[in-house]
């Protein structure tokens, strides 16, 4: 990746520099569409400040703060500004924690108050005459009250992934609630923020929580003369329902628009602009250029849509579209997994295509959130025996690498680590383990019907690796009543049902899951690809796949009618299913550098054809139906 800092200035960059040079300091909002190099502008602004204000910042012990959405983005920006100590780049959570953590006394007060609030809520529930879960609630109340006592004796709170007050750990959500409330309540903290960070830039501002934006605005409100708040974002790319979307401009703030799009080809840019038009009308210009023989040329690219019926052949139809594309573009890479990106609404599609639908729904549907999150990268604890033991083992076994197999066993099997084994004993143990390995390999074959439970039992029987205690509890159905650790009262129940579903999954589904975890698959979700870009993108629109009703392409295109709630939201000017789906569509289409294929599965193909043609998002000759696929196949057969 070329250094962002070296790319040429755009008009917006120059405007922004003027804004930063102004005294008193002036806050601003930069609106920059997909592919506009929003982060480039941010990095340029940072380096402008570093080079013009370094003496002042150093003298006053100040830093420019830059808040990013992810730690990966933070790392990139740190790299871009050569790790300048004058720039503090961090995610919102760690930024807030940096500000708030010195005030441990105030944190303690807040935690105590928070527990008290929770107690009150539960008490109210208990008091309701028809509460069915009273016993559990009473237990929960006792637990909170005992926590209160422990918290009173704590001196230091830390920041971790999930809140555990008794251990002095505050989770992500609490950090946000805590520090924003501290900022709101205390003038001193506002003063400190403006003194320590006279410039605070927020990247991806559209996805920032509204209460963070409002508390930062409070700082600006009081100390605005010496304080500059800068938001870099695109309301159109707001994906998460918790984000603020558009940032309201305050008096004396500056609004800077960056209209260029450096990413998308001309065709894709037309599509993207057409999608955006009904929203804020921002029309992006320029488009992608490529250099041929030393000269710059705009990339023409392509953008087409397939409107296909919802039927049982959806997955194979996607494959057919890929084949069609190889013919159409005379480019085999459409069939190569690492050359394309398939954007789906949810991972279920990926799970289906890669062959682990049961595993996916067991761990995802109505399951604890730690399972859901851990499913995406293979870190959920129920998956670990497979990820850390079974899969590596059978992989080595199938390649006949017996020495490495033994290494794994030596490291993990309690049978081999128990005592120093001698002669015959060792031989017997090894023979036993060999049997176990063979049975596992058998069970994991693609034609096997063995379940996850079968595999785990074998592991247990042959003492091949030591299993997590939580897993053992579920296997042996022990200790499943106590609720001790977590806040959610129904957690244990959901955990139990999820584990039962999990045990019933075919064990060999892990083979596909492994590919998915190792990012060997071409799949990504439309929500999870912010900032990413790919040459060839296939975006799959399929309401039937999704399980939530936040998005609906059928409603967006006008094929299904809007619900009363939808109508009400639209009438009240609230965020609604149409605007949400439009944004999702915008984001996923604007990932394509060159070629974009949208596949829309719908129950009413003719109607969809009519409506989509009217939108002008795609050129008439770029809209295809199932019959077009057939013609290719036929041509293929000839």
């Amino acid at each position: 990746m070329t250094k962002r800092i070296n790319s040429p200035d755009t008009e917006a960059d120059i405007m922004l520099r003027k804004c930063l040079d102004r005294t008193p300091r002036t806050s601003f909002v930069m609106i920059a569409g997909a592919g506009s190099g929003k982060t480039t502008s941010l990095v340029k602004a940072l380096s402008h400040l570093v080079s013009t204000k370094s003496n002042e910042l150093r003298r006053k012990g100040q830093q420019v703060a830059c808040i990013t959405y992810t730690e990966i983005a933070a790392k990139e920006i740190r790299n871009d500004v050569a790790n300048s100590p004058l720039v503090h780049v961090s995610t919102i959570h760690s930024f807030l924690w940096t500000i708030g953590s010195p005030f441990q006394k105030d944190i303690k007060k807040w935690v105590i108050q928070r527990i008290a609030e929770k107690c009150l809520e539960i008490q109210e529930k208990i008091n309701k005459p028809r509460t069915r879960t009273r016993d559990r609630l009473v237990l929960e109340l006792d637990r909170l009250k005992s926590q209160l006592g422990i918290v009173e004796s704590l001196h230091y709170f830390n920041y971790g992934t999930g809140s555990n007050y008794a251990k002095g750990i505050l989770g992500h959500d609490d950090i946000i609630k805590l520090v924003t409330s501290l900022i709101e309540e205390h003038k001193m903290l506002k003063a400190i923020i403006s003194q320590k960070y006279p410039y605070i830039f927020v990247d991806e501002s559209q996805d920032t929580f509204p209460n963070i934006v409002s508390s930062l605005k409070l700082v600006d409100h009081i100390f605005g003369k010496d304080f500059c708040l800068g938001f870099f974002g695109d309301p159109m790319q707001k994906i998460f329902p918790t984000g603020i979307g558009e940032i309201a401009i305050e008096n004396s703030w500056e609004r800077i628009t960056k209209p260029e799009n450096f990413r998308c080809s001309q065709r894709v840019l037309k599509t993207v602009n057409a999608i955006r038009k009904p929203a804020d009308g921002l029309e992006q210009t320029r488009g992608r250029f490529e250099i041929i023989e030393g000269k710059e040329f705009p990339v023409e690219g392509s953008s087409q849509i397939f409107i296909l019926p919802i039927n049982d052949f959806r997955t194979s139809n996607v494959k057919r579209v890929q084949q069609w594309s190889t013919h159409k573009f005379d480019d085999d890479s459409w069939l190569l997994d690492d050359k394309i990106k398939v954007l789906v609404v949810v991972h279920r599609m990926a799970a289906k295509r890669l062959g682990f639908p049961n595993l996916y729904s067991a761990m995802n549907d109505n399951s604890p959130s730690s399972f859901k999150d851990g499913l995406l990268d293979g870190t959920a604890w129920p998956l670990k025996p497979f990820m850390n033991f079974v899969l590596p083992l059978i992989n080595l076994h199938s390649s006949n690498l017996n020495f490495e197999v033994l290494n794994i066993l030596r490291a993990q099997s309690p049978k081999l680590t128990k005592n120093i084994l001698k002669g015959d004993d060792l031989r017997i143990s090894l023979a036993e383990l060999k049997k176990g390995v063979d049975r596992l390999a058998e069970m994991m074959r693609s034609d096997s019907t063995a379940t996850v439970l079968d595999v785990l039992k074998i592991i247990q029987e042959y003492e091949m690796t030591s299993l997590d205690e939580r897993l053992l509890d579920h296997l042996n159905e022990t200790n499943l009543v106590e609720t001790d650790e977590d806040d959610d009262e129904n957690l244990k129940a959901t955990e139990i049902s999820s584990m039962q579903n999990y045990f019933a999954c075919p064990a060999n589904e892990f083979l596909g899951y492994k590919k998915y975890c190792d990012n060997e698959s071409p799949f990504a979700t439309q929500q999870g690809i912010k900032g990413a870009e790919f040459d060839k993108v296939i975006t799959i629109l399929d309401d039937d796949e999704g399980t939530n009703n936040l998005f609906s392409y059928d409603k967006y295109f006008g094929i299904s009618s809007l619900s009363d709630v939808d109508k009400k939201n639209i009438a009240e000017g609230k965020d609604n299913v149409i605007s949400r789906t439009r944004r999702l569509f915008y984001v996923s289409c604007s990932r394509a550098r060159k070629d974009l294929i949208v596949i829309y599965f719908t129950s009413n193909v003719p109607e969809a054809l009519r409506l989509i043609s009217e939108t002008g998002i795609f050129q008439k000759e770029s809209i295809f139906l199932e019959k077009d696929l057939a013609s290719i196949i036929i041509a293929d057969n000839l």
């Binding site: 002042e56 150093r58 003298r59 006053k60 012990g61 100040q62 100590p85 010195p102 005030f103 441990q104 006394k105 105030d106 001196h155 230091y156 501290l182 309540e185 205390h186 001193m188 903290l189 003063a191 400190i192 923020i193 003194q195 320590k196």
Partner: protein
């Protein structure tokens, strides 16, 4: 931001000492071994995190017994969760609104509205029980080498826990950092009970200290001399060259200078070649073992900083121009050179701090140890007067950064220039041994409260008094006593000469004004004063008689109080005079608080001594003329003299009336017949205008000390002081440590 004060606990002789700092300059004074230097050492060691410098001897002596007690029964100590002693530094800062973001970790809470924040750096055991386990293990390892038999004294290491820690202190102890809440401390920054300071996360403490405070010490320049003999001896040129070197990096692109260097280097090389060529060739014929083709070249590698250090001389320009008459560095006076040297060093220290790009500390504390070395009085005063100007921070930085100075000194001259306000007086307390410790007193507090402060300050300036460095003070009536006192000490109490005694010539009336200061300093004091008997003036007597009154001192009230009774002072008279009273305010109002001469003469010894109390550490003894047996003309009579001179004449009657002693001016021409008439005649003589006190004193001094005796009241006083100082401290601190160590070791 400025340091408000700091408290050191358990560090060397500083058992628990609070030291206030002035916002600009503070001057640490005190007798030798009172902890001035320890205080500055502690700051350096704690702030600069010099864990490795800590040794077991840096613990206050009272800790040693505790350490060994814990070690002697390690099992029990572990069970009882005993904790080894800590050494700590609490440092309190005054901060301003715009420093808030620099001190986040020290702000107690968000609703806090104060301006004083505190940080504690504690040198503490990582884990006492772990240390004890290791100690036990080490002991068990060597248990078999312990010789059997009572008489065998040898014990292998570790003999005790101190012995163990002596080797492993840095492994077993660590620095921890705490944030302190001012509201949990009392007026004198003593921690409230039940308050636990907040431990700062281990990764935050050090950077925090570094971002707040930088401590630099300019050590005493004891070795700077005209002869370049010792390692520290360097001339001003070298000192400047270091400064040059540090600043050179900023000017690396000065190509003109660099090209000049390049040219000279070439020329120099050909010069060297022509000089050394023959010699080198000859060496070449010798051959070197193991090297087949030896080839020597001498080349000069010129770089600007080495030129500065070797080949540049500092010249003192006599007429202020660069090419006029000038003298090389080493032709200049040592004193002036030292002054310049010190200033260059200080500027260098400051420049190092100001050049720090990242995380420059908000405050630099520069400790200057004994800057008076090799500076004569006037230069000392120039130094102390100008140093703040010289170190002033200029430009934008002035709004954010500041410098504080702490100077340790033994020089009275340094003090006069600045008055009492910046003085921090270190006082030794406690008896010799483990209980001995020091306290630090803030003279500015005294200054605020004492009504006599202006007088005292003026007096101090005038008399260049060394009271602040003394082990004890002797307050005398006048010039005569001051001149003769050394001789009298020599005669009657030789051992007093070992102590540093400040002799103040103040007069009976003014001695009283020193009461508060001496009590404040807490040093033992001997007040040698006079009876100063006068007639009591009757109310009925007319005011005109006032002219006859021989007022000893002109400006004090003519009525003295005692037990509610008012006396009016009349003419001077012999002590034996019926109903005589004293005009001496010290006697009437301080000790023994008596006015009637008859009472004074019969006063019990105990009433003349003021013993230390809770608030007042000093022991004060007032001595004045008592009735002594005077032998004259075959008569033995008990009389008391009125003044020193009279008493001297009476107690040395034979010698004084001898012709040999005529020069002292006390010989009465017509030999008095009785003791009483002698006393009367001498009284008149001493009163008369023809009597010169100075020639009396010089006369005595020029005589053989063997022929006269020290007046008894003075001898008594000196004896008392000698005893008193023996009690105070007999042993020097190093000896003390030695003995302690051997004590605990055995």
């Amino acid at each position: 931001m400025k340091i408000n004060c700091f408290r050191i606990q358990n560090f060397r002789r500083l058992k628990n000492v609070l030291v206030d700092l002035e916002s600009d300059i503070s001057i640490f004074v005190g007798a030798n071994n009172s902890g001035k230097t320890s205080a500055s050492y502690a700051l350096d060691m704690f702030i600069n995190g010099q864990k490795d410098k800590f040794t077991i001897y840096d613990f206050n002596s009272s800790c040693w017994a505790i350490i060994n007690e814990i070690g002697d029964d390690a099992g029990k100590s572990i069970a009882e969760e005993a904790e080894l002693p800590h050494v700590s530094l609490d440092i309190w800062f005054n901060i301003q609104e715009n420093d808030l973001h620099r001190v986040l970790d020290l702000l107690p809470e968000l609703s806090w509205e104060g301006s004083v924040i505190g940080l504690r750096i504690e040198f503490q055991p990582k884990s006492t029980s772990d240390t004890l386990l290791k100690y036990k293990e080490a002991q068990e390892k060597v248990a078999k080498y312990v010789p059997k038999g009572e008489d065998k004294k040898y014990r292998p290491w570790p003999r005790n826990l101190i012995d163990f820690l002596g080797k492993h202190l840095t492994q077993e102890y660590e620095f921890k950092f705490y944030s302190l809440d001012r509201s949990k401390f009392d007026m004198d920054f003593n921690q409230n009970e039940n308050y636990t300071p907040l431990l700062l996360p281990s990764d935050r403490g050090k950077p925090l200290v570094k971002s707040l405070l930088r401590v630099d010490t300019l050590q005493a320049q004891r070795y700077l001399s005209d002869q370049a003999s010792s390692a520290r001896a360097e001339d001003l040129s070298k000192c400047l060259s270091r400064f040059y070197k540090r600043n050179l990096e900023k000017r690396e692109d000065d190509h003109e200078a660099l090209s000049a260097l390049f040219d000279s280097e070439n020329q120099l090389n050909s010069h060297l070649k022509s000089v050394f060529d023959g010699m080198l060739k000859r060496i070449g014929t010798l051959g070197y073992p193991g090297v087949s083709n030896p080839h020597l070249i001498i080349k000069s590698a010129l770089n600007p900083s080495s030129i500065m250090s070797q080949d540049t001389k500092v010249y003192y320009s006599m007429d202020g121009s660069t090419d006029g008459v000038s003298l090389p560095d080493n032709y200049n006076g040592l004193g002036f050179k030292n002054l310049i040297y010190m200033v260059v060093e200080l500027l260098d220290i400051q420049a190092q701090w100001l050049d720090e790009k990242e995380d420059r500390a908000l405050l630099q504390l520069i400790i200057i140890e004994e800057p008076e070395a090799h500076l004569h009085a006037q230069l000392q005063q120039v130094f102390i007067r100008k140093i703040l100007e010289i170190l002033a921070i200029t430009g934008e930085d002035a709004n954010y950064y500041s410098t504080q100075l702490a100077i340790t000194t033994h020089s009275p001259h340094m003090l006069y220039e600045r008055g009492f306000r910046p003085i921090r007086y270190f006082r030794r307390e406690g008896n010799a041994g483990a209980l001995q410790h020091s306290v630090a007193l803030n003279l500015s507090l005294f200054y605020k409260s004492d009504p006599e402060k202006d007088f005292l300050e003026r007096y101090m300036r005038l008399a260049h008094c060394d009271l602040f460095f003394a082990d004890a003070a002797i307050l005398v009536e006048g010039n005569v006593e001051r001149i003769l006192l050394p001789a009298m000490i020599e005669k009657s109490s030789v051992s007093l000469r070992k102590a540093y005694i400040s002799i103040l010539e103040v007069g009976g009336a003014y001695a009283y004004k020193f009461k508060n200061l001496i009590e404040f300093l807490g040093i033992p004091a001997l007040v040698i004063t006079d009876l100063d008997s006068v007639e009591e003036k009757k109310i009925s007597e007319s005011e005109e008689d006032d002219e006859d009154v021989e007022l000893e001192i002109a400006d004090y009230e003519d009525a003295s109080e005692n037990g509610g009774k008012k006396y009016r002072l009349g003419k001077a008279c012999l002590p034996a005079h019926e109903g005589a009273i004293t005009s001496n305010q010290t006697l009437a109002r301080w000790l023994p608080k008596m006015t009637l001469i008859s009472e004074l003469l019969s006063c019990d010894m105990k009433k003349l001594i003021q013993l230390p109390t809770e608030t007042n550490q000093s022991t004060i003894y007032v001595t004045f003329q008592r009735k002594v047996n005077v032998r004259w003309n075959g008569e033995n009579v008990e009389v008391a003299g009125r003044t020193f001179e009279e008493t001297f004449a009476l107690e040395n009657a034979e010698w004084c009336q001898n012709d040999q002693a005529k020069h002292i001016g006390l010989k009465i021409r017509k030999k008095p017949t009785s003791v009483n008439s002698l006393a009367e005649k001498i009284h008149k003589r001493v009163k008369s205008s023809s009597f010169s006190k100075t020639s009396f004193a010089l006369g005595v001094l020029s005589s053989d000390p063997g022929v006269w005796t020290v007046p008894k009241y003075i001898e008594d006083g000196l004896k008392w002081l000698t005893e008193r100082l023996k009690v105070d401290d007999g042993i020097e601190s190093e000896e003390l440590i030695e003995t302690m160590i051997t004590e605990v070791a055995e």
